[in-house]
């Protein structure tokens, strides 16, 4: 589904990603772990198309479509979703109006007619239930006045509404208490299917107790230096990241 080959990216002339390779198939969940500054969030943002990052080499294909040539909105319309580490508050833009615009812009891209108002509201209701997000969205501005946990849950709710092929969760667990973590994880697990895939970026093994990955990758200094089954996360939790320095040198 997603194929990343030799991806290089920099921010303000500082090279962050230095030849990253990753293959993800439909139905899989991949966790990406690594120390601060390794390039984890850069990867999410580069894939989503944030223009402060400059891609200096490599290729990213989503079901054969070269994402790097596309605008952020077209990447989303092709089925990429980034759950933000810091979701933005936008006072004055209502949650519902925002969702309706997003859903219908994506439908238009796919050649579908706009969703009927009734169907849309029913979908909102169903998906809110599915991801246990009960906040009243009708008269509230996007993320405005939401707690940290509510913002993250709103990301998962949006994920449910937009039904992407590939979702990247960028440190969705940061700032969540254990109950919120459980709810967010349940939401993600509800949404897992054989037709979609998830990339879970996290610092901590804790999240992976709830969202169990098929593969764990260690990102270090802009490259994936080690990949393994879910047990690798436990090993990292135990040993930290220092031992990876040698690994990195060996690979280089």
């Amino acid at each position: 589904m997603l194929s990343i080959k030799n991806l290089h990216a920099s921010v303000e002339d500082k090279q962050i990603l230095k030849g990253l390779n990753l293959e993800i198939k439909a139905g899989e969940v991949h966790a990406i772990m690594g120390p601060n500054g390794a390039g984890k969030s850069t990867l999410g943002n580069v894939l989503a198309g944030r223009d402060t990052y400059e891609v200096t080499g490599g290729q990213v294909l989503l079901d054969g479509v070269d994402l790097l040539d596309l605008s952020p909105e077209d990447r989303a319309r092709e089925g990429l979703f980034l759950a933000f580490q810091y979701p933005v508050e936008i006072p004055g833009v209502s949650n519902i109006n925002f969702l309706k615009t997003a859903v219908n812009d994506i439908r238009e891209y796919k050649g579908l007619p706009p969703m009927e108002a009734k169907e849309f509201l029913q979908t909102v209701k169903d998906k809110q239930k599915l991801v246990e997000f009960s906040a009243n969205l009708a008269n509230r501005s996007l993320n405005e006045g939401f707690s940290g946990g509510e913002k993250k849950r709103n990301e998962i709710f949006q994920l449910a509404m937009l039904n992407p092929k590939l979702a990247i969760l960028d440190e969705t667990d940061s700032g969540l208490d254990i109950d919120a973590l459980r709810i967010v994880s349940n939401g993600v697990n509800q949404l897992r299917s054989e037709n979609n895939a998830f990339v879970v970026i996290t610092h901590y093994q804790r999240l992976l107790d709830y969202i169990v990955p098929d593969f764990v990758h260690v990102l270090y200094d802009g490259r994936i230096v080690k990949s393994g089954p879910k047990e690798l996360a436990l090993e990292l939790e135990e040993k930290g990241y220092d031992w990876l320095k040698e690994l990195d040198t060996q690979n280089a």
Partner: protein, 442 residues
């Protein structure tokens, strides 16, 4: 040295328009107006002659140079061909309203659709001189300011509309006043309006400014005096939709009595090259409430200046003012908000906020909140912000599949929301939101 030369030039320039206006004034002397009105005109003309056109040396016109606008001659009081005029540009979808049309400042009854409504009087201002409310209020409010443009208008206005709402009358639907500019040659128009709303009466007034196709450059100097008597309620919308050829100097003077409410919603969109609005509110009794809202979405080289005065003269009044400017491309917005709280006006509650979103590297905003408070037991606050598009928010929306243009429209709507959400009329609110979307695309 160069200042002196400029000064000499502007004096020369003003003289040429002075001469045009003086000739017109002498013609008016021979009209059959009441002696009271004649005398008011004479006094006003004397004031105007003394003051001259405002220059940038006048603090209130510091950023607003009308030198080039008065440095030319215009047609004055020309009869215009109204046969093929259409007013579609002023249509507000879904708004059921009485309509009044003024063409180049002249009240044109033929285009107006005004079903009889008992208690609502609408006349041309020249036909209203026998009305009690005219005699009581005409030139009694705006002329107390030292504005040269008001003096000029009082002296030389040619037409306008008189509206009076009788005691206890709640006008059944909005009154839509459409100001149309038209003509093949550059013209100067002076409209004078008087609106008196008697005790317990209510009215909603919507004024749209439009320009007929291929109209020549035009300069409009309009003065509106509004009186809200005890417990009267007025909702007042300005929708500035004129074309680039339009230049407007509008003065609105509102006088409020006990328990009255006056709300002004002042919207300017891409189009007219030059707009200067003065909106002055005098809260001259207790328990008065006034709200001033503004949205200015500009483009190209538009210049739009809003000067407001909220004058708290008596205790226990409340005023609330919120202006949003969104200049695009090379447009300039000016905001000057004066709030006076006189010594008597204890327990005043006054709020003012001006937010600016500059889109376009060459857009400019000049803003100046000006609070003068002489009472000691009051609550006054003001704030002002300057900003640009929030790139984070823009990326967030686009990352959800929303196209860049739609995302920008959503964000500007969001920016304008504090103001649009206060609109008393939902039909006009939706119309304005639509105009905002259109104004961003153009």
């Amino acid at each position: 040295m160069s200042g002196l030369i400029t000064n000499n030039m502007s004096t020369l320039v003003a003289n040429s328009l002075f001469q045009q206006l003086t000739a017109t004034f002498q013609e008016l002397e021979a009209s059959n107006e009441s002696s009271a009105v004649k005398s008011i005109r004479q006094d006003a003309f004397a004031r105007f002659q003394e003051l001259g056109f405002p220059t940038v040396k006048n603090e209130d016109w510091k950023y607003t140079n009308i030198h080039n606008l008065v440095n030319k001659t215009y047609l004055l009081n020309e009869d215009v061909d109204v046969a093929n005029l259409d007013f579609d540009a002023a249509d507000i979808p879904g708004l059921d309203a009485h309509r009044i049309v003024l063409v180049n400042g002249q009240y044109v009854l033929a285009f107006s659709s005004l079903e009889d409504e008992i208690g609502l009087t609408v006349k041309s201002i020249e036909d209203a001189q026998d009305e009690v409310n005219f005699q009581k209020h005409f030139a009694q409010h705006a002329d107390k300011t030292d504005s040269a443009m008001v003096a000029l208008n009082t002296a030389l206005h040619t037409s306008g509309v008189y509206i009076s709402v009788a005691k206890n009358k709640v006008v059944s639907k909005p009154l839509h006043i459409v100001h149309v500019a038209t003509g093949g040659k550059d013209f100067f128009a002076q409209t004078r309006n008087l609106i008196v709303v008697e005790p317990n009466a209510e009215i909603e007034i919507v004024e749209s400014y439009i320009t007929a196709a291929n109209s020549a450059s035009n300069l409009n100097n309009k003065v509106t005096e509004i009186v809200a008597e005890e417990n009267a309620k007025i909702q007042h919308y300005y929708l500035q939709l004129a074309a680039e050829s339009g230049h407007y100097i509008n003065h609105t003077e509102v006088y409020q009595e006990k328990h009255s409410l006056y709300n002004n919603y002042n919207c300017t969109f891409p189009g007219p090259a030059f707009v200067r609005n003065d909106i002055n509110i005098r809260l001259d009794a207790e328990q008065v409430e006034s709200h001033l809202y503004g949205i200015n979405l500009l483009n190209k080289k538009q210049f739009v200046d809003n000067h407001t005065i909220v004058d708290h003269m008596k205790p226990h009044c409340e005023s609330y003012e919120w202006y949003k400017n969104i200049p695009q491309e090379e447009a300039t917005a000016v905001f000057n908000g004066k709030i006076f709280v006189r010594e008597d006006a204890q327990k005043t509650n006054a709020f003012q906020q001006n937010n600016n979103m500059l889109i376009g590297e060459k857009s400019t905003v000049f803003t100046k909140p000006q609070l003068e408070i002489f009472a000691d037991d009051v609550k006054c606050s003001h704030g002002c912000t300057m900003g640009q598009f929030d790139d984070e928010a823009l990326f967030y929306l686009r990352a959800r599949g929303i196209g860049e243009d739609s995302a920008r429209i959503l964000l500007v709507h969001a920016f304008a929301f504090d103001v649009t959400s206060k609109f008393s009329n939902d039909t006009i609110k939706h119309y304005v939101e639509e105009l905002v979307a259109r104004g961003l695309e153009s």
